[in-house]
Amino acid sequence: MRFRAQIQNINIFNKFVTSLASLGPVAWVRLNGNEVRFTIIPDQGTQVWAVLTIDTIFDGYTVQSAANNVINLEVPLASLQRALRSALQATSASIRLTKKDDIPILSITIVSSSLSSTPHTALGANNQFPNGDGNTATQDTDGEMSIDLSGRERETIITQEVPVKVLSPLAIEGIHEPRCREPDVHIQLPPLIQLKSISDRFTKLALLSRPGNSTTGITTMGPRLELAANMHGCLKISIKTDAMNISSVWTGLSNPELDPGQVEGGEEGVREHASTRMKALGDREGRSEEGWSRVRIDGRDWGKVMSVGRLGGRVIACFCNDHALILYVYLPNDADGDESVLTYYVSSYSE
């Protein structure tokens, strides 16, 4: 079993892992010759199935195994994230699967040039700063040159070892991506930072309006946010409590056209599609009561989902009325062809 690669986009990889880590402590990582898949299935809350094309994060990627060159791992996300974070300033970083004391580990080797991050002026001169004023460390710019060292020599090599578990094909046999009926409404979400700040605010308000126990955590159930969208570019987020009813509406968003190639039944399928019927209802201002597809989601969980905004991708939300919300997060990609996509399955709670 072999896996090794250069991490060519540490920043994206780090943000990606950080986003996932908010939803669950451990990810199932599936590596094969074409793609890297990260799956989070928490005990409760939103599932993520993320597919990254190899060149989104890796370079010089090799994966070999007895099981059709597929490797399945269980990876602790916090450790992986910590390791990647230390590579953010690195000159280069590589990752490989290895074994130490019979424990499989993902070993991340980071080459960091100290020159880039440390002002070497401070190195030569010490103990001669003036007394009294602590922060007047005299920065002698010429002192930098006095240390005669080539940049190559000054490289610091950091090795981070993340313990992982290798999963047998049997162990993952029964895990399937959730299947869901065709959505009623699909819409491109507004910039997630707007959506996140407003939903965080709503969640907080709802928590505060609860009688007295907003901080005790007696109830594990977070407040319910209602998210609704229509096929005329409107998205509505609202919260209802005994004392209040607040909502925010975005208008002028886009509802992407369905691709007949992707829909079962082709052109005919598109005509018969639930979203086509929804187009007949509702309006551009979102005033009408008709034409909305609604889901009720857990406010806290939604806040964790919104963490994906740091990746800056385009997000399409698919609403299955009263059933589920599916988010497709497309990572920015220069090249044409396969896109990296993170799929979030958020279930809707009943009223």
């Binding site: 943000k15 950080t18 986003s19 908010s22 402590p25 990876v75 602790p76 450790s79 910590r82 390791a83 974070r85 300033q89 130490k100 004391d101 019979d102 424990i103 580990i105 980071i110 100290s114 991050s117 440390t118 002002p119 401070a122 190195l123 010490n126 103990n127 700063f129 007394n131 009294g132 004023d133 602590g134 460390a137 020599e153 000054r154 610091t156 090599i157 950091i158 090795t159 981070q160 070892e161 993340v162 313990p163 992982v164 578990k165 930072i193 996140k196 965080d200 969640t203 907080k204 928590l207 505060l208 901080t215 955590g217 806290r300 806040g303 964790k304 919104m306 963490s307 994906v308 905004g309």
Partner: protein, 435 residues
């Protein structure tokens, strides 16, 4: 009668706070030793495997005066004070340095220890803006202090490096590791933060903390002279705290050690503050930088404390970190021989966002806004009908009218009058003062 008076500049009092925080990692109390021209703050941890001292010389103070009691032969005065008490006195000052009106202008410290006074107190006066003086009277325990002796002549391994670089290395370490292995090989000095743990079940594997190895070029060091392939193992948390403090002084850190099982000393100084930190190293760690889980269990500190975890290994448990060399002045107490068990680390320090020792990642700050909101701990705007102004600064006349009143002073005063001067620190616990 003992005379001890000294004056600190705002910067010096801020740096004193940093030093106190660093000492708090080792012990709840700070030992203070005054001599003719130096004042030493020190702390020894309960397992006697770590000792830190800050010697403040005359340059540190704007004024320093000490005269021992007449019957005192060796010309010293020693006492111990609860660290939290001192830290909280100096803490707000450090914050106020950011140019607010309440910033202090001068800090006077004097010792009240006279036969004709009912109370012995350590008195700290903060002279603030607008003519406000805040006076803190702290109780102290007049005890002999223990020191760890370290003989640098026997320490044939020594290196010095700028604190910035050391800080950079430490920043790579994950949060939960327990130990640090330092060794020199092939022109590289490697720092490995790791954890020895017995992995019981498969599920525990994923909880094992990150193991981080930082291989630094010897050229990064200002000077380097150490034996090759010798593994020196110390507590990574102690190391982190030392590095974090050294970095606030922006200075060169020196390390001195001889062999595994003998103490190691880190030392650095700046502006009249001389810091020496002596840590016990793990004995007989062997040549294996990363022994297997099964074999490390034998050496593990955790195991030596709770050997039942690995019954098979019990007979092999040995004292890992021996006690320090006998303290220099054990007049009053005798050091017990103990296993080198880990000091229970105080959680508050890590939770304290004002603390120096919380690693702040600059790059991440921008990214943080994407983190899920923490609804439980977030401050919320609301009404406080309790009319309880105890917490925090409220510009009521109560705070500004009195030259010698503050929350701390009040609570001190509220204690029963006429307590004996050498009241034990343990006795004042539970009075709600600093616990």
């Amino acid at each position: 009668m003992v005379t001890l008076n000294f004056t600190l500049t705002p910067e010096a009092s801020g740096r004193l706070h940093d030093a106190l925080l660093s000492l708090s990692r080792f012990s709840d109390t700070v030992s203070i030793e005054a001599r003719k021209d130096t004042l030493t703050l020190s702390a020894l941890n309960s397992s006697k495997s770590g000792y830190s001292s800050f010697i403040l010389d005359e340059n540190y103070f704007s004024f320093y005066e000490f005269a021992p009691a007449n019957n005192n032969v060796d010309g010293r005065f020693t006492c111990s004070i609860l660290n939290k008490a001192l830290t909280s006195v100096f803490k707000s000052r450090a914050v106020d340095l950011k140019g607010r009106d309440t910033a202090i202008e001068k800090c006077d410290v004097s010792l009240q220890d006279r036969a004709d006074e009912a109370q012995c107190r350590f008195i700290i006066r903060m002279f603030c803006g607008h003519g406000v003086t805040k006076t803190y009277r702290l109780t102290y325990e007049a005890v002999e202090v223990m020191r760890a002796l370290f003989d640098r002549n026997t320490a044939n391994n020594r290196w010095t490096i700028h604190s910035k670089l050391l800080k950079e290395y430490v920043d790579y370490f994950g949060g939960k590791a327990e130990q640090l292995d330092i060794f020199f090989e092939d022109g590289k000095c490697t720092f490995i933060s790791f954890t020895e743990k017995i992995v019981n079940s498969k599920n525990q594997v994923l909880k094992h903390p990150l193991r981080t190895a930082v291989a630094a070029n010897v050229a990064d060091f200002t000077s380097f002279n150490a034996q090759e392939n010798m593994h020196i193992v110390i507590s990574v948390k102690d190391f982190k705290s030392i590095v974090a403090h050294a970095d606030t002084l922006d200075t060169t850190v020196g390390a001195y050690y001889s062999t595994p099982g003998r103490p190691l000393q880190f030392s650095y100084s700046k502006n009249g503050m001389h810091c020496h930190c002596t840590l016990m190293t793990v004995e007989d760690y062997g040549q294996t930088p990363a022994p297997s889980a099964a074999t490390t269990a034998v050496h593990s500190r955790t195991t030596s404390r709770a050997p039942t975890i690995a019954p098979a290994a019990v007979q092999n448990v040995r004292v890992v970190a021996k006690e320090m060399p006998p303290p220099a002045l054990p007049n009053t107490r005798k050091a017990e021989r103990k296993l080198g068990q880990k000091e229970p680390q105080s959680k508050d320090q890590e939770a304290d966002s004002d603390s120096l020792f919380v690693p702040q990642d600059r790059e991440d700050r921008e990214d943080r806004r994407w983190d899920p909101a923490d609804y439980d701990n977030e401050e919320t705007l609301g009404w406080d009908a309790s009319a309880n102004n105890e917490a925090g600064f409220h510009p009521t006349f109560r705070d500004s009218v009195s030259a010698s009143r503050s929350n701390t002073t009040e609570s001190t005063k509220s204690m029963p009058e006429g307590l004996p001067p050498t009241q034990r620190i343990s006795q004042i616990k539970g009075l709600g003062l600093f616990d």
